[in-house]
Amino acid sequence: MKNFSAIIALAFLLLLSTAFADDVSIDQLKQTMIKSADEVASYDYSRMAECDIVYRNESLQDIFEAAKATDGKVNLTAKSGWWSHQLKDTGTREVLLWQGYLINGTEYWKEGDNWTQFILNDSQAVLDDYNDLPGQVELLNYSDITITGSEEIDGEDCYRLTAEPIVLIQKAILGTQIFASYLASPFPLPDELDVADFNFENTSIIENSDVSVTAWVSKNDSLLKRIKIDSSLTLDPAILNIAEQNFTIQSILHETTDYTDLGQSVQIELPSEAYNSSYRMQGADWRWAVFGLVEP
């Protein structure tokens, strides 16, 4: 009986310590992730984003599919950055190319074969935009995180995390996804959505959506190696709480980003033809907005 009690006590202590360790490890992991990301001065990244939107009503069914592949380099020491996007419209098979360089306080865009130069008043703010990693870490920092296992990424042992962003972030994602869904829509944007007092709380959008994040973080140095964001959304007049003829829009967005060569030497060179670039204030192709705006 005495031994049994000791075993029970030991098991209780083990259980308690495990639970405590989990709490501490997640909090500590967030802190070390932020610290590690702040200390990284250079890295490469690649990102794949896919968007599928299905439109249905009694008489039609349309689908818009697009994919965006992004590569990027960041060198904070040299205050330079580069990103390259390739957007493929699956329906038309059209491919759009877009590159951005930040070199010596000037930003250059290459869209197709056309170069555009931007003289910046605040190049540090633009460098912050190019510095992709901290924003991803902050997404995890402002999420409810659970360690769900261990996996190797590029031969490195990593924690596998699942994360649920705070509601503010979920709404920012879903709110934009609603409007992005209407970019290719055969249904007109309802008047209720075209006024600024549309009330998210009066709808069932959250209940009919899912925003989930999965991340892989190095056990060795707490650097983020891979992060995957999945957002799905279903819209109809009842969900939006609007008076419209019946329709359904189902929108799915997947985005996966891999970070490599963290802390390694990263060279970013501006192609010579960029120096002959013209100045321009035109807009970009609308399909970029399906993945956000003018940024990776």
Binding site: G135, L139, A172, T176, S185, F200, S231, D285, W286
Partner: protein
């Protein structure tokens, strides 16, 4: 830092669809052809500005609004006889960020409250969040509008989609 890319805090999605119709991209576009009739509107939106109409402005005729809240008659902007007061060769969103008193105000309010501004990645671009000492959060743009606590998602969404 997605705010830096915003140009105008309001709608215009139909105008975006009008660009779509002009591009005439497959069956999707055909359904939106009805929105492509006004070249002045299309020119305004494709330039990254906000097209809108209001009975109290410009006799109800369409206007093109710029980031500093100035505006032109949409047809005048289309004809080139009126334009924004922006430094040349600077994309509108960038000019908005560097010249905006609202952006500075947002930062000032957040920092003087002991808060920190965090840029958070989303698949649609980064958003700025002010994190107060007690751990509560507020969208940074909502702070500048005195609407902390309100959902500012719609302004973000519409601004993104109405931007260049």
């Amino acid at each position: 830092m997605i705010q830096s890319k915003m140009t105008c805090p309001a709608a215009g999605i139909l105008s975006v669809l009008s660009i779509l119709a002009l591009l005439c991209l497959g069956t999707v576009c055909c359904a939106t052809a009805q929105a492509s009739a006004d070249p002045a509107r299309t020119h305004c939106v494709s330039s990254g500005y906000l097209y809108r109409t209001s009975p109290s402005l410009n006799g109800g005729q369409g206007i093109c609004s710029f980031p500093d809240n100035s505006w032109c008659d949409a047809n005048d902007f289309y004809n080139g006889s009126c334009g924004p007061r922006l430094s040349p060769n600077i994309v509108p969103g960038y000019a908005f960020e560097t010249g905006s008193t609202k952006a500075a105000s947002m930062q000032e309010i957040c920092l003087t409250s002991g808060g920190k501004i965090k840029s958070v990645h989303t698949p649609y671009g980064d958003i700025n969040v002010c994190v107060f000492p007690d751990g509560t959060t507020c969208d940074a743009k909502a702070i500048s509008e005195g609407r902390c606590g309100a959902d500012y998602w719609m302004i973000y969404a519409q601004s993104w989609l109405n931007a260049p």
